[in-house]
């Protein structure tokens, strides 16, 4: 831990960003437990994958930039990568579930396009 030379306001801002982001990720995981059907549950993890991740990465970039005393934007790459990949995973999962539900003739299967 080497944030001793950091001003108090910066530390508070970093903590606020990170804790809010972690809160969104936690609410997303909670939604995974609380929501009733699969198609509702697919919405939940994208809470952590969008705003939760963005806030945590902003906090990380701010903290590392202040510690190393130059602009550190590497973490934006994680954000870019996950923003591109999350739709692919969720879309494939939703399609898989739709395919299986239609094949088995479940009552909550999505209508045909």
């Amino acid at each position: 831990m080497n944030g001793a030379e950091l001003p108090i306001w910066a530390a508070c801002l970093v903590v606020l960003l990170t804790v809010t982001g972690a809160g969104f990720a936690l609410v997303g995981a909670l939604g995974l437990i609380r929501l009733k059907t699969f198609y509702e549950r697919v919405h939940a993890p994208s809470l952590g994958a969008t705003l939760g991740m963005a806030l945590i990465l902003c906090g990380s970039m701010l903290l590392l930039s202040l510690i190393e005393d130059r602009l550190v934007l590497r973490d934006a790459l994680i954000g870019l990568f996950f923003t591109v990949t999350t739709p692919v995973t969720l879309l494939l999962l939703a399609r898989t579930a739709a395919h299986r539900d239609r094949f088995e003739g479940n009552p909550d299967a999505p209508p045909e396009v």
């Binding site: 831990m1 970093v14 990720a25 995981a29 909670l30 945590i56 994680i78 996950f82 494939l92 999962l93």
Partner: protein, 94 residues
């Protein structure tokens, strides 16, 4: 109350919340009820694990954990896509 204390406690709290989120995702992964629910749980699990590693990197103040987080993201993405394709068609590579 120095900035080191604030950072230590605040980031520790964030890590705890992310670990709790991982536990909830693991519960969904173990509980099911169907295979797609388990894969969704796995997806959430590695996402939150990646975020926890990023926060750990912030706590130690080193940039070394960046690579670990990125690699977890890539491997998790590949795993989820392969599993979803397997569920859909019974084979991964066609």
């Amino acid at each position: 109350m120095t900035s080191v204390t604030i950072l230590d406690w605040g980031l520790g709290l964030a890590q705890g919340m992310l670990v709790l989120a991982m536990a909830l995702a693991a519960w969904r992964m173990l509980r099911g009820p169907r295979a797609q629910d388990r894969i969704l749980g796995l997806d959430t699990f590695y996402l939150n694990g990646m975020l926890a590693i990023v926060v750990h990197g912030m706590r130690t103040g080193s940039g070394l954990y960046f690579e670990a987080a990125l690699i977890i993201g890539m491997i998790g993405f590949t795993a989820t896509v392969a599993l979803a394709k397997f569920l859909m068609q019974g084979e991964v590579i066609q």
